[in-house]
């Protein structure tokens, strides 16, 4: 609908942005706006100050760190992920998943930082980044810190980024022979997820599985991961490993399905994601 009164500022540097976020209570970072503007239209949230990150070129870079991590600036858009040769080479699943987020217009504006900082349980990137063992760099007024995905996602719409801080980049280990998978059920093609799972199988056979939509934050399917540690990633073994996964969850019920349906979908998605990852793994 229509926003409440708000103040807007567009800083020129990251330092300025952090300073502004710290100076005004009720200040929020405005990235792509594909969620925040809607939230403000509905008046479900009404920050007093919007700090627009649009001019912060530093946050739009995609590159590699000294130790080969794929570094994605917080303001990198989904479209940029999709078109990035660095991403294609290092961790193509990011582009593959990003290409299914909503539509062209949203992908032209929506950002990686926005997707993770909104921390909507149905968002695409949180479970994917958890499975990929990504890390998140947060800049504060005095210092910068890097946290794991576990530490980053704190609750529904809540992350480790506190008032006066800014997520600056997400770092993802390169594939190095690992295979990645992502599966789930959406409401219509390229719609919101009802349940999803992300999985990676390393070239040594190590498995990481993260589930979205079933809890406040993305969760690891640890028991399933352990059962697959033996290295047998056949369809039967993966299906067997998923048994009981649903029972261990307490997902929400809504118009798109009951808790039971989501329990079932979590298992199905986990199996599909692992099988997809296994099939893409490069032989050791």
């Amino acid at each position: 609908m229509l926003l409440r009164e708000v103040e807007y500022v567009r800083p020129a540097t990251v330092e300025e942005a952090v300073s502004l976020l710290g100076s005004y209570e009720g200040a929020r970072a405005l990235a792509g706006g594909q969620t925040l503007v809607n939230v403000m239209k509905a008046r479900a949230a009404a920050p007093d100050v919007l700090v627009d990150l649009a001019d912060l070129e530093e946050l739009r870079a995609i590159g590699f760190s000294a130790d080969g991590l794929l570094e994605i600036g917080a303001m990198v858009t989904y479209a940029q992920l999709v078109g990035s040769s660095e991403v294609e080479v290092a961790r193509p699943i990011l582009a593959e998943v990003a290409a299914t987020i909503a539509d062209v217009q949203v992908r032209n504006r929506g950002t990686v930082g926005g997707n993770v900082c909104v921390a909507d349980p149905t968002n695409h990137l949180p479970p994917l980044l958890l499975a990929l063992d990504a890390t998140f760099t947060i800049r504060g007024p005095e210092s910068e810190r890097t946290v794991s995905a576990d530490e980053f996602f704190v609750g529904v719409y809540m992350t480790a980024v506190s008032e006066g801080e800014l997520l600056t980049k997400v770092s993802v280990p390169p594939s190095s022979g690992a295979g990645d998978g992502f599966a789930g059920l959406t409401i219509g093609k390229h719609g919101t997820y009802v349940a999803n799972a992300a999985a990676t199988v390393s070239d040594e056979g190590g498995v990481r599985i993260a589930l979205g939509c079933v809890d406040a934050v993305p969760v690891r399917a640890s028991a399933m991961e352990e059962r697959l540690a033996g290295g047998d990633l056949s369809a039967e073994a993966v299906a067997a490993a998923a048994e009981g996964l649903g029972a261990s969850l307490d997902p929400p019920s809504d118009a798109h399905g009951s808790g039971d349906f989501r329990r079932h979908l979590a298992e199905v998605s986990a199996v599909r994601a692992v099988l997809q990852a296994a099939s893409r793994r490069k032989a050791a």
Binding site: M1, L3, R4, A42, L185, I187, G188, H190, G191, H256
Partner: protein, 819 residues
């Protein structure tokens, strides 16, 4: 091409009619130069935002607007108390108890659905109106909430004290002798419960209006998108205590309506009151969330205790059922839904013994209003579900059951058990065509191939009728006191001083291409090109020719709208011919209109008058005309279809005039692990008689199919027990996007209507064929997994999965008693 044996089709010599000429409307629309009501501005206008109830059912304890009024830029407010003083309740169509309901433009004393408008604020900008609305303090005392029709029927909690019951209307429709048919049947198939889910067409442009009040003449002008202004005025004028002529409706371009823009009168009355009270134009644009929460939902109907009589050879001789219709918080137009389904009582089938025990109740949900396919779609879904369930339970081929039981083309025009007349059609041929389009012969191969990929393939047919051109006399079946009968539409066609042909329509187009098809009809009659025919955009009660039932609804434009255009154009033609004859000094029979000229047939070149000359003579140069000849070159025509009378005792009569056929077929693949349904092949065959513009007809078939696919797979208005609508935006209420649509194959047949002026039947609504065939296809796909019964119209993954997980539960309500 079928022929009608009874009467020759009344068609025109095909010239422009029958061609897919590109639309005249497009030039402005592709440039963003259309004028939709929100594009209209007035100096000093105020913007309105409605304060709406967050509760589904509550007493309004108090409303305090003082803080809102203090906000700078706020022009004023209005509440239910003021409305109750300055207006009378809207006219109710039903008999008691529903007829006793008091329905005002704003909630008075009580709110009965989430999102019901309680107050309105008007301010200088949209944003300020929104801000001010938040400052209106309303306190409520919540009341128990009714979201299930079956619960509502118990009358433990009554929504409208004036009515004393939640029942709006009830009646029993019975023709033939179904109990006898059941007794004589070889099989009786019983189906305990089928439920047609609540959804609507959600036109992309929301409702709204800009309303001006003239203090000198006490007239209101509503720049709006009401699709049936005649009916709007009938509701609004008495409520406002003014004559109908005090309301001028102006529509220009409308962004889709599909029936959802018929019941806009409550909000429009608020705007009228505000415009008068504040002395300035006021504007309101509905928000998407408000459209979903509080505007117009389509019929939600539960069919209970169905019993179907079937002979050993597969002939279905009759059925009986109890229908429970949930009209939401206020019935409004909706009691007509209790009757209108009877236009298609037997569906496409020849059974003669039918009993429907129909009850409509109120619940704490959004009011229902006509939605594409209005009430007939729900009933046709019932008949198609019956056919497929009978076929499945008796081990019969659904194609054969249909062919056996369809009304045959030789029987056309066919009188149904309740006196409606199916004018023309060849259902068997249409079915054959659709089967060919989806390569029905290969289904079993495809089923095996899909199974190898882990998918369950299913095939389904959905046959449906689009009944058009209503007899408003059917309303007397609802309420014998109602003074409505017949139908009409008006149009005027004139030849101006410079030879321009100008048409005004009584209809209110919302994308159906009326400007183009009207021009085609006129061009053929006047012997000119459609480019020379200017059809004025939209509807304006000051300038247009319109009649009491004017509007665009009920699949009738091709009959009544174009019938009026044809009539007016013929009157004009006849006069032009006479005038040319007088000027050229020839007999009228010797004159023809060709290429924009009136000329002597086979005469010399000079024996011709351009239209401009005719126009000039009448308007500016008429002295030489004989005194007894006074041409106006400006004609209005009212197309009045003829109907037999309605018998309110037997509940029989000609309730509608034309019946377009649509037969759809779908091939689906179900993912057994997720319940996801993918449509892998789809075809629709349409037979609407003569097609004035085949491309436009086909576009309507595409659109109706998309609406049906959405309704079948994802579109549902879902409520929780507190009466909160859970699907109030396009994230949760998922409509088909470009990637969701399967490739569509279409076929067409033309069985001209013997009763329509141009042999063309209305066809825009479609009848929900897609819903019927997708339900059938899903049931077929799951047949190997325990034979679950599809008993709801909308089957998103969670419902399909429930059927897969527990087919027995879904079958629990179905039983077969065989001799």
């Amino acid at each position: 091409m079928t022929t009608v044996t009874d009467q020759p089709a009344k068609t025109l010599e095909k010239g422009f009619v029958g061609q897919s000429i590109p639309r005249k409307e497009d030039a402005r629309l592709v440039q963003g130069l259309g004028t939709f009501f929100d594009d209209v501005r007035r100096h000093g206008m105020g913007y309105v935002h409605f304060v709406r109830s967050p509760y589904a059912h509550a007493k309004i304890v108090s409303i305090d607007v003082s803080r809102a009024l203090e906000l700078d830029g706020v022009y004023g407010t209005i509440t239910g108390d003021e409305v109750a003083i300055s207006t009378d309740p809207f006219f109710e169509m039903s008999v008691e108890p529903g007829g006793l309901i008091k329905d005002y433009a704003l909630a008075v004393g009580r709110v009965r659905h989430m999102g019901e408008p309680v107050a309105a604020v008007c301010a200088a900008t949209r944003e300020l109106a929104r801000d001010a609305a938040e400052l209106v303090e309303v306190s409520y005392d919540p009341l128990p909430v009714l979201v299930e029709a079956e619960e509502s029927l118990k009358d433990e909690v009554v929504l409208h004290d004036d009515a004393g019951s939640n029942v709006v209307w009830s009646g029993v429709f019975e023709w033939g002798d179904v109990d006898q048919a059941l007794a004589e049947a070889d099989h009786v198939v019983k189906i305990d419960r089928l439920h047609f889910n609540r959804f609507s067409s959600t036109p992309l442009e929301c409702a709204g209006a800009l309303v001006e009040y003239d203090r000198g003449t006490h007239e209101w002008t509503l720049h709006c998108n009401h699709q049936m202004p005649g009916v709007g005025a009938i509701w609004m004028a008495p409520a406002l205590r003014v004559g109908i002529d005090k309301l001028r409706f102006v529509t220009q371009d409308i962004g889709g309506a599909f029936g959802n823009k018929i019941c806009l009168h409550p909000q429009y009355v608020v705007l009228c009151l505000l415009a008068r009270k504040l002395g300035r134009p006021v504007q309101w644009t509905e928000w998407r969330t408000d459209q979903h929460t509080a505007n117009a939902h389509g019929n939600e109907r539960t069919f209970l205790d169905a019993e179907v009589a079937v002979k050993a050879d597969g002939e279905m001789t009759g059925f009986k059922v109890r229908a429970l219709d949930d009209c939401g918080a206020f019935p409004r137009y909706e009691p007509l839904g209790c009757i209108i389904w009877a236009q298609v009582t037997p569906g496409m089938y020849g059974w003669r013994n039918i009993k429907v025990d129909f009850t409509q109740v109120c619940t704490n949900k959004s009011p229902v209003s006509p939605n594409r396919g209005y009430s007939r779609m729900q009933h046709l879904w019932l008949t198609e579900r019956i056919v497929d369930i009978v076929a499945a339970e008796l081990g019969l081929d659904p194609v054969e059951v249909r062919k056996k039981n369809y009304v045959k083309t030789e029987q056309m025009p066919y009188e149904t058990p309740n006196g409606c007349v199916y004018d023309s059609g060849d259902y068997a041929a249409a079915l054959d065509l659709v089967l060919e389009l989806v390569d029905h012969g290969s289904i079993e191969d495809r089923r095996r191939e899909a199974a190898a990929r882990g998918k369950l393939l299913g095939f389904g047919i959905g046959s449906t009728l689009d009944s058009g051109t209503n007899n408003f006399g059917q309303s007397t079946l609802l309420n014998p006191e109602l003074q409505f009968s017949g139908n009409n539409e008006a149009a005027s066609v004139k030849l101006d001083i410079f030879g321009e042909v100008v048409v005004t329509l009584g209809t209110v187009p919302q994308g159906q291409g009326h400007e183009t098809t009207a021009a085609q009809v006129v061009a053929d009659i006047l012997g000119c090109s459609p480019d020379q025919v200017n059809v004025r955009r939209g509807h304006d009660t000051w300038f247009n020719s319109h009649a009491g039932f004017s509007g665009t609804y009920a699949s009738q434009f091709a009959f009544t709208g174009l019938g009026a255009v044809k009539g007016a154009a013929e009157l004009l033609r006849d006069e032009m011919v006479q005038l040319a004859a007088a000027v050229l000094q020839a007999d009228a029979e010797a004159i023809e209109l060709v290429d924009g000229m009136a000329r002597i047939k086979d005469g010399p070149e000079e024996a011709a008058l351009p239209f401009m000359a005719l126009g000039a003579i009448v308007n500016a140069n008429n002295a030489f005309l004989p005194p007894d000849f006074n041409p106006t070159l400006n004609h209005r025509y009212v197309c009045r279809p003829y109907f037999g009378m309605v018998d309110t005792e037997k509940k029989t009569g000609q309730l509608t005039l034309t019946y377009a056929t649509q037969i759809h077929a779908a091939v689906v693949e179900v993912d057994p692990d997720t319940g996801e349904v993918e449509i892998v092949d789809y075809a629709a065959v349409d037979d609407c008689g003569v097609r004035i513009n085949p491309q436009i007809v086909e576009g309507q078939v595409h659109g109706a199919t998309a609406h049906a696919i959405g309704a079948a797979l994802s579109e549902e208005f879902v409520y929780d027990e507190e009466g909160t609508l859970l699907t109030s935006n396009f994230y949760d209420y998922h409509v088909p996007h470009a990637l969701d649509m399967p490739p569509l194959k279409t076929g067409a047949m033309e069985s001209p209507s013997p009763v329509a002026p141009l042999g063309a039947k209305g066809m825009g609504e479609g009848g929900g064929g897609g819903i019927h065939c997708i339900c059938a296809a899903i049931q077929d796909a799951l047949a190997g997994a325990g034979k679950p019964i599809v008993s709801t119209s909308c089957n998103p993954p969670h419902r399909v999965w429930a059927m897969l997980r527990d087919p027995e539960s879904s079958r629990a309500g179905v039983a077969v008693e065989s001799k």
